[in-house]
């Protein structure tokens, strides 16, 4: 029952997207909107296809930068999250700092990275890293810090030491939090990369879009947006599948609870 329910949801979601594009196309024609302001999706898609050979290196550049920043963010994020989550003191001390850090608009740190490292790939990687790291740290820390008190009592009464509690309970129960954060983090890393590329780089989708808007090639700018959206969806989907594989129990539990 749940399976057909889910495929039905997929169909609904796909038709919603198609409808949205249709509405966009139709209103462009109906209201005679100039392609300089808002190109119809047909133009955007054909531009994307026609320009693909020229766009491809930039797409690859953005993708690689994002993945490097994201992987670094994941490693550092897990380490920080583990430190913050395992010790209550670290949690209390570090949390305000993390919140403060996360509220800094990342666009503000790009010039600083450029100042330090020059323009190019390195500031883009660092921006991706700083953009995506916060949800990972918070989720890992939350997962580790919130073991059910009764479960902890049961284990302690049995004589379990800290590492036994960690391997048997804390780590597995953190997994769903961790993967949920990865899905979000990977799309955020994208935002960071493109942000940095639009400010200071000569390669990448961000740069292409900057140059396209500067020369009023609006369809190309939109093609860049479309490429970004598609890549974002792709990466999100990859991590959603991995998540489902590794901690499907968390989802099935929810499904059951919802009836």
């Amino acid at each position: 029952m749940t399976l057909s329910q889910r495929s039905l949801d997929h169909v609904k979601s796909a038709s919603f997207i198609v409808l949205l594009f249709l509405a966009w196309e139709v209103s462009c024609v109906l209201f005679g909107i100039s392609p300089i302001v808002l190109p119809p999706p047909s133009t955007v898609i054909s531009t994307l296809i026609v320009q693909m050979p020229a766009l491809w290196p930039h797409i690859l550049q953005t993708l690689l930068t994002t993945m490097v920043g994201f992987l670094l963010g994941m490693v550092i994020g897990v380490a920080l999250g583990a430190i913050v989550g395992v010790s209550r003191t670290a949690y209390n001390v570090a949390y305000p700092l993390l919140v403060g850090f996360s509220s800094i608009p990342k666009v503000a740190v790009v010039p600083i990275f450029v100042l330090w490292f020059g323009s190019g790939t390195l500031p883009a990687i660092l921006t991706a890293l700083t953009t995506c790291i916060f949800p990972i740290v918070v989720n890992v820390a939350t997962g580790l810090a919130t073991t059910e008190p009764e479960m902890e009592d049961v284990l302690k009464a049995l004589g379990a030491n800290r590492s036994q509690v960690f391997w048997n309970v804390s780590l597995p129960r953190t997994m769903p939090y961790f993967f949920a954060s990865l899905k979000v983090a990977v799309t955020l890393a994208f935002v960071g990369t493109v942000l940095s590329e639009t400010v200071a780089a000569n390669r990448g989708i961000g740069t292409v879009m900057m140059m396209a808007t500067a020369s009023f090639d609006v369809p190309l700018a939109f093609a860049g947006l479309l490429a970004l959206a598609l890549l974002g969806i792709l990466l999100y989907a990859v991590f959603a599948v991995i998540e489902q594989r590794i901690c499907g129990w968390a989802n099935r539990k929810q499904e059951f609870a919802m009836g």
Partner: protein
């Protein structure tokens, strides 16, 4: 001095509280949860603790299980001051806390992974001896065939049966039960009384049972402690000599109903005693 006390303690006591005070909170919020409590429990006792809510029943369980240190006084378990050595106490709460990423069988075998001597051979025995042990327990609580299920596929009553299995799988000397049947319907509860009694009669662990159900206490316990409200104190210590195995018929006998009525009166008194203080 403590060492002297330890060695002087006769082995016929599995758990002992000596002048134990437990204080919670700090400054003006501080209050005494447990007041100069003395208690001696012998191996194989089935002790039920009843009393008004907040009187410190769970606190006593936690003291004996080594989850809480007394503010003053001493707690001894198996001849040693608590905290010195872990003896693998079985514990079950009202909330069954089965881990959702494990099957029911894996959940039940979890203590074997932690408590010695089982832990040493866990990798080797989990598919043979320990597997059979889990299956045997599942059969006793009426969950044959549910070992491979996941916790979310079981009802509350079934989870609580599995919870009992997990608490007992490593044949603990001490079993701590904190309102284990509190969330179950009357019929399931009475069925689980009989199952628990049977399991207890087989291996005779020492049991501490906290309950709000006076019939449950009278049905299961060989000894009932009635506690007074804040600060908690044991005000009544009663042997229950009803023959075993007790059945539902036992609960209709006059000795049984007299006992539960007595307990009810004692708890009402304990509750009234606290009113003026509040």
């Amino acid at each position: 001095m403590e060492a002297g006390l330890t060695s002087a303690m006769p082995t016929s006591r599995i758990a002992q509280l000596e002048n134990v005070n437990v204080r919670f909170g700090k400054g003006s919020n501080a209050f005494l949860a447990l007041d100069r409590t003395n208690l001696t429990v012998h191996p194989g006792d089935f002790v039920a603790m009843v009393g008004p809510s907040g009187c410190g029943k769970s606190t006593i369980l936690k003291l004996v299980a080594g989850l809480l240190r007394p503010t003053e006084g001493h707690v001894f378990v198996a001849g040693r001051e608590v905290g010195a050595e872990r003896i693998g106490i079985g514990m079950a709460f009202q909330n069954p806390t089965m881990l959702p990423w494990l099957t029911i069988r894996e959940n039940i075998m979890l203590p074997l992974k932690i408590v010695q001597p089982y832990a040493a051979t866990f990798r080797r025995d989990k598919r043979t001896v320990f597997y059979d042990r889990a299956e045997g327990l599942l059969a006793k609580v009426g969950l044959t065939g549910f070992g491979d299920r996941r916790p979310w596929e079981l009802s509350g009553g079934m989870l609580q049966r599995a919870n009992l299995c997990r608490a007992l799988v490593h044949s603990p000397k001490l079993l701590m039960l904190d309102e284990p049947f509190g969330a179950l319907d009357q019929f399931t509860r009475e069925e689980l009384w009989s199952i628990l009694q049977e399991l207890w009669m087989e291996t005779r662990p020492t049991v501490f049972l906290v309950t709000h159900d006076l019939r449950e206490a009278a049905f299961l316990a060989s000894r009932i402690l009635v506690m007074s409200a804040r600060p908690g104190r044991v005000t009544e210590d009663r042997q229950v000599d009803l023959a075993r195995p007790r059945t539902l018929e036992t609960t209709f006998q006059p000795e049984f109903t007299d006992l539960t009525n007595d307990l009810r009166r004692l708890i009402v008194e304990a509750r009234q005693a606290k009113e003026p203080a509040q």
